[in-house]
Symmetry: C2
Subunit: 151 residues, 2 copies
């Protein structure tokens, strides 16, 4: 297995995991502090998907930090297969949750034009944007793991 | 480059493309025959994404049919790179469109519980289901192309 930027146990891999964690945590914080997110299935699903993302990315970030500190190589093919599956599942759920929430946000604030509380609207939009950013940082991880497995 | 099931110019590859085309075309047909899809940005986006999917899958199916008839091998690395990018773009757009539409369908028919015209509700749900099936058949194509490029 080759060693390139973003693989497990590298600085870039660690930075990618921290970025995923930060965006997902920010999305949860923004959504969970609105007053009526529980009325919308898609917004609850966004919180669940981002929660899974937070757990997954934080675990992998800690593993990367351990590998960096101990100078261990994490390119075991079983471990990388597990990372590929985990990254694929979290990336797919994140994109689906972000899109479903974006669909409702656009419906309310563009199609119907019903945005009475400006602070709430901003929070919904921020949560959706952060969820998309989280997906944008998970997808490269998934591709890197897949290429690492292919080589 | 190796030759395995689902690669360009094989029977399985051709069947996958036809399945993608059929699901996407079915989704468009189901959504476009509803009376009020144009009031929802997400439903219009679903039709656009499925339209792109129809064009892409039909083109690749025709290319596969030509390769099968003429017994030509389509494993040129530039061509496969193009297939990877195209499959990734269409798969991502399909999942995003299906999720956004699913978010609104669930909002209307579960959260609000406002389904006055049963035939319309069924058509929305059918369009979303077919869009998800279309994504489920594009994603394997994307993975196969990526593995073909990696080998």
């Amino acid at each position: 297995m080759k060693d390139f930027a973003g693989t497990p146990g590298t600085i870039t891999g660690f930075v990618l995991r921290i970025a995923q964690f930060m965006f997902a945590a920010g999305s949860i914080a923004s959504m969970a502090t609105t007053s009526s997110f529980y009325n919308f299935t898609a917004f609850c699903y966004l919180i669940a998907a981002m929660g899974l993302q937070v757990i997954w990315s934080l675990s992998l970030a800690l593993m990367d930090a351990y590998a960096l500190a101990k100078k261990r190589v994490l390119h075991n093919s079983i471990l990388v297969s597990l990372f590929v599956i985990g990254d694929w599942v979290t990336a797919t759920l994140s994109l689906a949750a972000a899109s479903a929430s974006a669909g409702i946000t656009i419906l309310y604030f563009h199609d119907i034009g019903d945005c009475t509380i400006v602070a709430e609207c901003f929070k919904y939009q921020l949560a959706v944007s952060l969820a998309f950013l989280s997906w944008l940082t998970v997808f490269p991880s998934f591709l890197i793991m897949l290429l690492l497995l292919g080589f």
